[in-house]
């Protein structure tokens, strides 16, 4: 490994070679192949080699922090580097609002990266431990707004939604005024977004609010009327009713009223509801008729519906 290679690696990511002149990189194997042209993986491995040396010496300085910035930009899944950085943020007393901005800028291209989301939670926990006056411009609502910005890029992002749930739970933020309008925005954007429905259950069917469960039944009915074959509101409806020790029979009139919907006849969700109600009421003929219809409108599950018909007839 010659100094020119090290300098080139550092300069290529905008770091000053002079700052690292005393650092000899270490590698866990033979190091990057010296025969290969110095390109992305080779430069990256040189920089990693420098970081390794500094970490082994337990150095916790600005130049180590800067290396983590460049390396994480290149490889945000390298969780060990995130750990160093989280440590350095404390030791160097870095501004956490700046760190959140930087994290968000990295997130746009890495929305499915576990480490970035966990990093946000680490920072949020540190900020929440400080008195309000020491948090700068940070607020919980601001953090939730950041989650929404990232959701705009990927509306069903599993990490974003579970992070939001985690924030609300851990810091008991159920009374934030802006949350219901956030939920409505997401539902308006895509009524088939299952993540929003899950969030609705988490937020609206929590113990403290459960006496308003009928509003949730209405929410589901409303959505079903708009898109009759939408899986999520049907599952939501069943879930709410089950939680209240009820079942689809209590909405039988509603299900029947859907027959005027132009897509009802061809809707697997509708016929499933009719089948379920018929079974609950012990109406074998109607149940068999519904299962028979499902053989046609839910063909991928043909074998399942055929077996279902046999099982009903056998009873």
């Amino acid at each position: 490994m010659n100094n020119a290679d090290i300098e080139e690696a550092l300069e290529s990511v905008g770091l000053l070679a002079a700052v690292y002149r005393d650092v000899e990189p270490t590698f866990h194997d033979d190091g990057p192949n010296p025969v290969c042209p110095i390109n992305y993986p080779r430069r990256y491995r040189v920089l990693m080699g420098l970081l390794r040396t500094l970490v082994a010496k337990s150095e916790k300085s600005r130049r180590v922090y800067d290396l983590t910035t460049k390396l994480l930009l290149e490889n945000p899944a390298h969780y060990t580097i995130w750990h160093y950085r989280q440590d350095l943020l404390s030791v160097l007393d870095k501004d956490l609002n700046d760190e959140l901005c930087w994290t968000e800028s990295l997130s746009e291209d890495n929305l499915k990266n576990y480490q970035l989301w966990h990093h946000r939670m680490v920072l949020t926990r540190r900020l929440m431990e400080k008195p309000e006056s020491e948090r700068g411009e940070w607020t919980m609502q601001g953090e939730l707004d950041a989650v929404e910005r990232l959701l705009q890029l990927d509306e069903k992002n599993y990490h974003a939604w579970s992070y939001r749930i985690g924030l609300i739970k851990e810091f008991n933020q159920y009374d934030l005024e802006a949350e219901p309008s956030f939920i409505q925005r997401m539902l308006d954007a895509d009524i088939r977004n299952n993540s929003v429905w899950n969030y609705c259950f988490f937020f609206y069917m929590r113990e403290a609010r459960r006496e308003k469960w009928k509003e949730e039944v209405d929410r589901a009915k409303d959505a079903i009327q708009k898109v009759i074959n939408n899986e999520s509101p049907w599952a939501y409806l069943r879930g709410v009713l089950r939680k209240m020790n009820s079942d689809l029979r209590s909405v039988e009139d509603f299900v029947i009223s859907l027959s005027s919907n132009e897509y009802a006849e061809a809707s697997a969700q509708w016929w499933r509801a009719k089948l379920e109600i018929a079974e609950l009421k012990g109406q074998a003929d109607q149940a068999v008729a519904a299962a028979d219809r499902l053989c046609k409108v839910d063909q991928i599950r043909l074998q399942y519906w055929q077996k279902k018909m046999i099982a009903i007839e056998a009873k």
């Binding site: 866990h28 939604w161 299952n194 599952a235 879930g239």
Partner: protein, 259 residues
């Protein structure tokens, strides 16, 4: 449009047979070029990759194409002092790699070459008060880790080292209104997480926590007209979900519910 679910269309000229020889070749050659960009960038999951490759080779009857000695050497070099396994030398140890390492050791029948007590201590140290597991000392909680912990210990016959009942009740606290499970309490039901939770409950003898008909149906509904399976309602199918969903249905004795 109003009735259709999000799905893909398999092109007419798509491959129609399983090309096992090519798969064996691909896995055998993987890692030949350490300067390859993606290979360098994916160091953080090297241990997992070796497990996936070995398991696949084993299923295809080609395990002998893997370099057993090199792999054993790699395993030993990656076990940290705290008993956990690194993904590759000098990255921090993590529960994800620890499961993969144990799985690799079982496949190559070399458990004696690693420090099994160390693994046990490491995994045990990551269980929290409420029964969940952190991925490592930095505290991320996720049911992927619950499964890693439980599967890992079961493979080395040390399941009783952890609080099994608490682990199962943490999973139970993640049960959702649709019968499924997510990564943490309240998180959306997701086929991958369902596999980790159902797997945990199966290994710990707590499958009775699951409403098998309700969850079985949710899983069956993952199948789309193309034949592929998705991970959640109104998402596109992906072959990884074929594994998560089918494996879960198998555990629940409802594999015949799908086509």
């Amino acid at each position: 449009m109003a009735l259709s679910r999000k799905d893909v269309k398999i092109p007419e000229d798509a491959v129609k047979e399983l090309l096992l020889d090519k798969h064996v070749e691909f896995i055998a050659k993987y890692g030949d070029d350490p300067d390859d960009y993606e290979y360098a960038m994916s160091e953080f999951l090297r241990m997992n990759g070796i497990y996936w490759g070995s398991a696949a080779m084993h299923l295809m009857g080609s395990l002998q194409s893997m370099d057993r000695d090199k792999i054993i050497k790699f395993l030993k070099e990656c076990q940290a002092e705290n008993g956990g396994f690194r993904p590759v030398q000098e990255h921090d140890p993590h529960l994800l790699n620890t499961l993969s390492a144990v799985q690799i050791a079982v496949i190559f029948d070399c458990l004696a070459e690693i420090d099994v007590d160390g693994v046990c201590n490491y995994v045990t140290s990551l269980q929290t008060e409420e029964g969940s597991f952190m991925g490592d000392q930095w505290g991320e909680i996720d049911n992927r880790f619950t499964f890693c912990a439980v599967a890992c210990l079961a493979l080395i016959g040390r399941l009783s080292s952890i609080d099994v009942d608490k682990a199962a009740s943490f999973v139970k606290s993640c049960l959702n209104f649709d019968g499924g499970f997510g990564s943490r309490p309240g998180a959306e039901s997701h086929a991958g997480l369902i596999y980790t939770c159902v797997g945990t409950l199966a290994i710990t003898g707590h499958l009775h926590y699951v409403d098998s008909d309700l969850l079985g149906w949710w899983l069956a509904e993952r199948q789309l007209d193309s034949g592929g399976l998705n991970g959640r309602p109104e998402k596109l199918p992906d072959v990884c979900y074929s594994w998560w969903v089918l494996a879960s249905l198998k555990i629940l004795n409802r594999l015949h519910w799908i086509d």
